[in-house]
Symmetry: C2
Subunit: 357 residues, 2 copies
């Protein structure tokens, strides 16, 4: 491993994010292009005295399986994956976002993706109760998606990931404390006026533990309280397929109308995956000032300053969320131009700034 | 997948070798360079309705772990690997031999390799009771090791693997039937005179099931009966490290003297891994006439016509073998020039030909 930033990234994942200790058994989800990061992580696990299995998560391989498998096959969870997840103390996912082609799944019918996603739910449920982290290793495909050179993209990635995470946590706590005292959130902006209750729900501060980069304050709204309409101006990239310009209208907490400028069929399929897939599972507010541009990558985009995101699907039980679903689809909205966030009718964000800035 | 031979290879692995059926859970050991074969196999599993996990077996990753791990860490088996192996119905290993550098482990101390090998024994014991196959996908490193161009090496690999396996099996049965009626085997040749009993042991015909390529008739001698000396003129390549010109002398079944022209320390370390590592676990006779040259790859070399091999370490219980060990180290000897195989004092092979040829 030549780039010292890869070593530092591995240190943050293993020590800060996952707190791996001697004797832990670590399940790593990897991908061919994450090779350098995998080596740096595995070396650190060896030093600590934790064992590991590196499971290959390569979208071109998954595509080959999905293409030829029938619906019954796709609906069955992998028994080996379940057994591995149960045995693991820690799951480090460096593969899922480390793509070599963001459109690798573009010729798989959406309903097959949905079935495969649903089949993973028992595994996701097991992993949620463990220490886990999802992060990325920079690839040319990700740089291309971000419309950047590879070298500039690497700089971008590490400026978002290699941060003073305890200091970041203190900054985010200011917003989280306000959120904890709030009953009703209202979001206004272009073609958007949506209201929901977060009363009794716990705001969570993402300081680089489960996600790297971290940098958001988020909670799970009371999903039955969601009313109004929202326009997501930033594209949603889901397993290599894209939805652009999604508009959702909620009544009594349920997405009653949904359309999109592009990818509407995929959006509708995913949001009808199960009974929780059409309900709000998350409100997030991006706070990572190291992420200063949109790169079409949810792991980064949702942490970007001057954005909010809502996710439909699975809520966070640790935030008090109750909505259940196999899916969790993040949708981001930029707030800098004319967006306002009201906490109990008081603007906590307006005109591109938080109220204390 | 562009090369139709890769598709045919995948078909043989999944259908002929492992007999994968709907509902099977398949553990695949893969490596980055096996990507094309992995895709072809996974597509076939999808079609059949078997699920899979692809576990990454990359020597550069393993090296990073071994380099930094202490002995206690290396001695503990991976709990996740154990759980995955228990759950699997089938194990397909396309990673272990699909190397990108045959010397990747050359700077790891031999005793560390030995500990890692020993730690895998419980996993190997579980897999032995399942359907499994080990095969290869051609790489430039393997071509280089074989002193061949990549294209010529691919031709070599597929001419050894893509065969009429039922027909091969019938050819090998001729030798196996003779072996079944034999009490004592004696092998003569350059610097070699070794004798052992195979009385009551079962000859096995390798017709492309557990190994691809297959093509050997083998059994496990009565290890306590091995007497004499043997010179292995062909190099032994073990996890990227090499032993050349090994000479072993057996007394009462135990390797009493061992030396080598190169790599003697590694040989001694491996053969003292445990109490069974210095005893003969296998006699094999190569019968695959599609393998017409030595390529420094045990999976091919041991099947080559006009060779025999002995392995020290783990015997085959299915042949009636009782020797137990975490290691199984194959050592090959060419027989074409002056080698003789005697079954109960009658030459079954001499002057480069079998007795019925």
């Amino acid at each position: 491993v030549a780039d010292p930033r890869v070593l530092e990234h591995a240190r943050i994942v293993v020590e800060h994010s996952c707190k791996v200790k001697k004797g832990d058994s670590v399940l790593i989800l990897t991908a061919p292009e994450a090779h350098e990061l995998l080596i740096a992580i595995v070396a650190r696990l060896g030093k600590i005295g934790a064992d590991y299995v590196a499971s290959d998560f390569d979208s071109s391989v998954m595509r080959a399986y999905l293409l030829d498998a029938d619906e019954e096959t796709l609906s069955a969870p992998s028994r080996i994956t379940l057994a591995a997840a149960k045995e693991a103390d820690v799951m480090i996912n460096i593969g899922q976002f480390t793509i070599s082609n963001s459109h690798e799944m573009s010729d798989i019918p959406p309903h097959k993706l949905q079935l495969a996603y649903l089949a993973m739910k028992p595994v996701v449920d097991i992993i949620e109760r463990k220490r886990w982290n999802i992060t990325i290793h920079p690839t040319s495909a990700l740089a291309q998606e971000a419309k950047m050179s590879y070298e500039a993209y690497c700089d971008f990635v590490y400026s978002a990931i290699i941060r003073d995470w305890p200091k970041m946590a203190a900054e985010m706590k200011v917003l989280a404390d306000k959120m904890a005292a709030t009953k009703t959130v209202r979001i206004l902006g272009n073609d958007t006026d949506i209201t929901f209750s977060i009363e009794g729900r716990k705001p969570l501060v993402d300081s680089g533990e489960k996600n790297l980069p971290g940098g958001e304050v988020f909670t799970s709204p009371i999903d039955s309280s969601v009313e109004g309409h929202v326009y997501f101006d930033l594209p949603i990239n889901y397993l290599g397929q894209e939805v652009r310009g999604a508009r959702l209208k909620f009544r009594n907490g349920q997405a009653a109308e949904m359309n999109a400028e592009e990818g509407e069929e995929l959006l509708k399929t995913l949001m009808s995956a199960d009974s929780g897939a059409g309900r709000v599972g998350e409100l997030g507010i991006g706070m990572n000032r190291g992420i200063n541009r949109f790169t079409k990558n949810i792991l980064f985009d949702e942490k970007m300053g001057d954005t909010i995101h809502l996710a439909v699907g699975r809520a966070f039980p640790e935030a008090g969320g109750t909505n259940e679903s196999a899916v969790h689809i993040d949708m981001i909205k930029s707030m800098k131009e004319g967006g306002t966030i009201l906490f109990d009718d008081v603007a906590v964000y307006a005109n591109g700034k938080f109220s204390w800035e």
